[in-house]
């Protein structure tokens, strides 16, 4: 019986998560239908806010490449952290084998970071 208990908590967690998302999206719409939240569409209201002035020029411009490199590096290490969580929780069961397995994984990614560092991608100039 306790086999399902684990899944029950996950199911509950899932329901709450989905509900939370849905409610925060649906509630303003419902309140608007009820008329509690006033609705006054206005072209100036929907224009971009820039300190009270109109924006100058298009914002789709060609800017420097280094921002893209940073985004890449962040993505790689973000995914790494996602894998670390379950590993960290179950490390006691896995013993040294699990430790070394994850060690290899982290070392490979770390090599990528060292390469980027040497290439000067981290300099902000």
């Amino acid at each position: 019986m306790d086999f399902w208990a684990g899944y029950a908590s996950i199911a509950l967690f899932l329901i709450v998560a989905v509900l939370f998302g849905l409610v925060t999206v649906i509630l303003p719409k419902v309140l608007r239908l009820l008329g509690i939240v006033p609705r006054k569409p206005d072209p100036v209201k929907y224009s971009t806010y820039e300190c009270g002035m109109e924006t100058i020029g298009p914002s789709w411009v060609q800017f420097n490449f280094r921002y893209y490199v940073f985004a890449l590096l962040f993505l790689v290490f973000d995914v790494l952290v996602v894998f670390l969580y379950p590993w960290a929780v179950s490390l006691r069961g896995g013993g040294w084998a699990a430790f070394w397995a994850m060690g290899v994984f982290v070392a490979v990614l770390f090599a990528g970071l060292v390469y980027a560092w040497k290439k000067g991608a981290l300099e902000w100039r």
Partner: protein, 370 residues
């Protein structure tokens, strides 16, 4: 191979938390690096110089309060000093010392706000500001005791001050002067060697000495660039020749030096307050204003008189045609002229540094747009 990038122009516009009021900069960026900057003024232009021509000499004093509203007393002082020099009015000794007391208290209060907002811009959101506001509230209570107002005091008159010191003022000021060095130590211990502040403001927005002189910078901005010039020493007025105090100057002229110079100036102001307090205590209360007719008629002529306001050289150029109102009253506001070199200080740095350099210049819009 050079990466071809296009510049983006952004309005750091009239309503922006980092512009301390309604100042607007049209900044052109290449990525995050500033390529061009054009300051735009006039969003708080209230025409004090035109109003001066329609008011008698005494009526104009409350308008000067609203010019640099973080240092109202020194505005009054600069204006009254100019008219007194023009009309040849002699002040009683006690009035001079009360003016020095009040002027130096104003300097401390102004530097507290300047440093508070500068650290706000550095990212220490509200914490140092509320620390420094605690002291400023004490000073505002003292000013409240003196003139009944927290901000625009209208306290000085031609020939002296409007009311004498209330009996409970001197003990309260003495207590404040005794505690203040302890608070300044607390700020320095909290901030002076803080690595985030050092990283963000050391070597940022450097204003070299000769550019500072050529761009007519004055006050802490000029002294931070290493130029040892203070009007209280260079062109002394009132009783400053009798008071001992040093003039702190920085080395590099970067944002950290401006922060450091203001912190040391607060210490010197406390020293001046101690000496002035000692002198005022011996004086008999009573004579706090010279006999001046309500409708002062200075002789024909002009005067350019300047004082060291917390922001720099605050000067009045008054031309009188013998009538009851000035023919021309030009206000030389240090905040506006300190902004002349803003573009040179900021081009090449990033947006985050622009916010810090602008905060370190310590600008009040009432004085910039007059």
């Amino acid at each position: 191979m050079a990466i071809r990038t296009q510049p983006v122009t952004i309005n750091i516009g009239p309503q922006h938390p980092s512009t301390h009021g309604v100042f607007r900069m049209r900044v052109t960026f290449d990525g995050e690096v500033i390529v061009g900057l054009e300051p735009i003024f006039g969003y708080l232009h209230r025409g004090k110089e035109k109003l001066a021509e329609a008011r008698t000499y005494t009526q104009f004093i409350p308008i000067t309060d609203r010019q640099d509203y973080l240092a109202s007393m020194t505005n009054n002082w600069a204006y009254c000093l100019a008219v007194e020099r023009l009309a040849g009015i002699e002040l009683p000794e006690r009035a001079e010392y009360i003016r020095v007391l009040v002027g130096e208290m104003m300097r401390i209060s102004n530097h507290l706000m300047a440093l508070g907002f500068f650290l706000n811009d550095c990212g220490a959101w509200q914490t140092p500001l509320l620390y420094m506001y605690r002291e400023r509230e004490k000073l505002l209570d003292l000013f409240d005791m003196l003139s009944g107002q927290r901000l625009n005091y209208n306290y000085m008159r031609l020939g002296g001050v409007s009311q004498d010191l209330p009996p409970e003022f001197l003990p309260a000021l003495k207590k404040f002067v005794a505690e203040m060095p302890g608070y300044i130590d607390e700020y320095e211990q909290l901030l002076a060697t803080n690595e985030i502040l050092l990283a963000r403001s050391k070597g940022v927005g450097i204003l070299p000495a000769e550019l500072a002189i050529s761009a007519s910078a004055s006050g802490p901005v000029l002294r931070a660039s290493g130029v040892k010039w203070d009007i209280r020493r260079g062109d002394p007025y009132s009783v400053y020749p009798r008071l001992q105090f040093e003039i702190p100057t920085g080395q590099q002229g970067d944002a950290y030096d401006r922060f450091w110079v203001r912190m040391q100036e607060m210490r010197q102001s406390v020293r001046i307050l101690e000496q002035a307090l000692a002198a005022v205590e011996q004086m008999p209360p009573g004579v706090y204003r010279a006999k001046v007719p309500a409708l002062v008629r200075p002789p024909r002529g002009e005067v350019y008189s300047r004082i060291e306001s917390p922001k720099g050289e605050l000067a009045y150029y008054i031309v009188s045609d013998g009538g009851i109102a000035p023919w021309r009253c030009r206000i030389r506001g240090p905040s506006q002229i300190n902004l002349t070199a803003l573009k040179e200080m900021v081009v090449g740095w990033k947006l985050a540094d622009l916010v810090i350099v602008f905060g370190s210049i310590d600008v009040v819009m009432g004085e910039v747009d007059r």
